[in-house]
């Protein structure tokens, strides 16, 4: 069971102070700590667990500059066998479609049974890369995956729906599954793993090597272009009602009536 897992090297923004950069299309990245995208972390763990149970290999792929090697090394340290980094200055500005095209070129000739991605990326949150990649590959995809049960060339998959519901679907392999957090408990990076990771090679491929033209990637090859990124202005929507409890209760009643809520 060969598994490919697509991982993204993203800035940790949950607790950082975010500033918009001079282009107004991105955030200021200097000073931010980068790590593997949280959803991809679970996808990687799932890939390694599949390998441990069913044999085969795990190949981790990312798109990004040299810094992204640290995310690939982490994948290698956690049990991936191969790592590929796709990089080219022309990739800058790619939307999910362009990213999927790049990944498609890189994986289409690799042997694999399952391709995993995170359900979304913590930085841009499009949730689209996996489905588009599956479409380009001409294979099935399942999103928001919470459980995977392999059975021959079929896979039974639980999807997370809103309101605590889950849906179980069955798809034929090969397939693309986009992984939701919580599907497993990602293991710690081990020191032995780090040792092994440092001895493995990261394969680096550029635009020409994967066989795409300049116009097929970056902004030129994208369907979506970022016009502007900004911090939404703070607006005051709340209304404070003064007075003693009776007066306030009366005012609330007036508002409810005026808006036709009762």
């Amino acid at each position: 069971m060969d598994v490919i897992v697509c991982v993204k090297h993203v800035p940790e923004t949950a607790e950082a102070e975010i500033k918009i950069d001079a282009t107004e299309k991105s955030i200021e990245k200097s000073g931010l700590v980068f790590d593997i995208n949280e959803w991809d972390d679970y996808a990687l763990e799932e890939a390694v667990q599949i390998k441990e149970k069913h044999g085969g290999t795990v190949t981790a792929i990312t798109i990004g500059p040299e810094d992204a090697d640290s995310t690939l090394r982490k994948c290698l340290a956690r049990g991936a066998d191969n790592a590929i980094r796709l990089t080219d200055p022309k990739f800058e500005g790619s939307d999910s479609y362009a990213i999927a095209k790049i990944l498609h070129k890189a994986v289409k000739d690799l042997p694999f049974n399952i391709l995993l991605t995170g359900a979304l990326a913590g930085d841009d949150g499009y949730t689209a890369t996996g489905p588009i990649l599956a479409t380009l590959l001409g294979i099935s995809h399942v999103t928001m995956v919470k459980k995977i049960g392999l059975n021959g060339d079929l896979v039974k998959v639980n999807r997370e729906l809103e309101g605590g519901l889950e849906e179980q679907v069955e798809v034929k392999l090969p397939a693309v599954l986009t992984i939701q957090t919580g599907i497993n408990e990602p293991r710690y990076v081990s020191i032995m793993g780090i040792r092994k990771a440092m001895q493995k090679e990261i394969k680096v491929l550029g635009l020409a090597e994967i066989g795409l033209g300049e116009n097929e990637v970056g902004e030129a090859g994208s369907w979506i272009r970022i016009k502007k990124m900004y911090v939404p202005p703070v607006e005051k929507q709340a209304e404070f009602l003064d007075g003693n409890p009776e007066e306030v209760a009366g005012k609330i009643a007036d508002i409810i009536k005026a808006r036709g809520l009762v």
Partner: protein, 384 residues
């Protein structure tokens, strides 16, 4: 740092995230051994950092071990981030890596990498800091030794399956040179001839430090670590990295407390502005931070020399002297920054205060570290 070293820091940091101060508060309060923390360190290979690959480790050095200890300590674990690794990986692992023969390595190292706990029995009630005055006697009887004596303050002896025991095979009075006549033994525990009684103590209550009574303990001669009678020089290869470990912890605890104090000082408003605005709050924390960073560099140097097999005692002792002062200063002023809350258990500073203060007393007292520097670095007469 190499990419590999950066990854070790990152890996340690991820573990630290799952063992936050509230975990240690509970363990300390309940005098509970942190089983899951130790299991995590073992499974993630931290215990095997200094153990050769052929014995199931990762064959790295004390420098890498210190990076792990510093990160665990400073990011959330306090002293515990160093303590357990020191007891097992330094006292057991490193000592055997350095001086064990093939049989000893085969017997112990793979087990240590898998989490077999160790302890070091050096200190004695009547010798104290004066190790050469060790009274625990190992007397040859055929192919074995019979050992009698008493050790005190032996950390982890209650759980350890292995003990590095410092003895005299020739009494002090009968040696030509005071540093001769000490021998090191690897002792398997528990053993009916070894009685272990925990000593109630000020902090680090998630681990026990014990009195150890040894009565007619029979140990085969094969269990001597390194060369018989030369134990003093050999044990320095354990005591120096022990110092480095404790220096790493002193700085780490200081940094942890300072970070807690900074977060607090940025929030807490008393006279209209955050208290961190006041230089009386800022400057002592800034000073401690600067000193801790300087101590770290000296400690890195010490471990680098150790890994290269070069003399490291001078750096290790100097690093220890400044690391402990800086660490204590950091925690002291952090407590001051939190005001009354600094004294409340819930805010953790009081625990780190109890922890950091042990580093003035152990593994070597502050005075003895200074005495070493006076004599061996400055060239002054021996003062003790």
């Amino acid at each position: 740092m190499t990419n590999e070293q950066k990854m070790i820091v990152q890996a340690a940091s991820e573990i630290a995230q799952d063992f936050q101060p509230d975990y240690w508060r509970k363990k300390d309060k309940n005098h509970e051994y942190p089983v899951d923390f130790w299991k995590t360190l073992v499974e993630a290979g931290f215990v095997g950092i200094v153990i050769p690959e052929e014995y199931g480790g990762s064959e790295m050095g004390m420098f890498e071990m210190m990076l792990a200890m510093e990160t665990l300590t400073s990011e959330s674990c306090g002293l515990a981030g160093m303590w357990f690794l020191c007891l097992t990986s330094v006292f057991g692992g490193l000592s055997i890596v350095k001086h064990g023969n093939d049989q000893q390595k085969e017997k112990y190292l793979p087990q240590i990498a898998k989490g077999m706990e160790f302890c070091l029995a050096l200190t004695e009630p009547d010798a104290g800091t004066n190790t050469l005055n060790t009274q625990t006697a190992a007397v040859r009887s055929g192919d074995e030794f019979v050992i009698n004596g008493r050790k005190t303050f032996i950390s982890g002896a209650d759980r350890a399956k292995g003990m590095l025991l410092v003895t005299r095979t020739t009494p002090l009075e009968e040696t030509s040179k005071r540093t001769f006549g000490l021998s090191l033994f690897l002792v398997d525990l528990p053993n009916p001839a070894v009685e272990v009684n925990p000593i109630e103590k000020h902090g680090i209550n998630y681990s026990k430090t014990c009195d150890v009574f040894i009565t007619d303990l029979k140990v085969p001669k094969e269990n001597i670590l390194g060369v018989e009678e030369k134990g003093w020089h050999l044990v320095l290869d354990t005591l120096n990295p022990e110092r480095m470990s404790f220096s790493a912890a002193a700085g780490g605890i200081g940094l942890l407390a300072i970070r807690t104090a900074v977060d607090y000082a940025n929030q807490r408003k008393v006279f209209g502005v955050p208290i961190g605005t006041h230089q009386a709050i800022q400057f002592p924390l800034a000073e401690a931070k600067a000193k801790i960073e300087a101590a770290r560099l000296l400690n890195y140097q010490a471990s680098w020399l150790y890994d290269k097999g070069q003399p490291c005692g001078a750096k290790a002792n100097m690093a220890k002297v400044i690391a402990v002062e800086a660490g204590i200063q950091g925690v002291y002023h952090s407590m001051q920054t939190l005001g009354g809350y600094g004294y409340a258990v819930e805010y953790d500073i009081e625990r780190w205060w109890r922890e950091v203060n042990v580093i003035r007393l152990a593994p070597v007292t502050h005075q003895m570290a200074l005495a070493f520097i006076g004599e061996h670095v400055l060239g002054l007469p021996k003062s003790y």
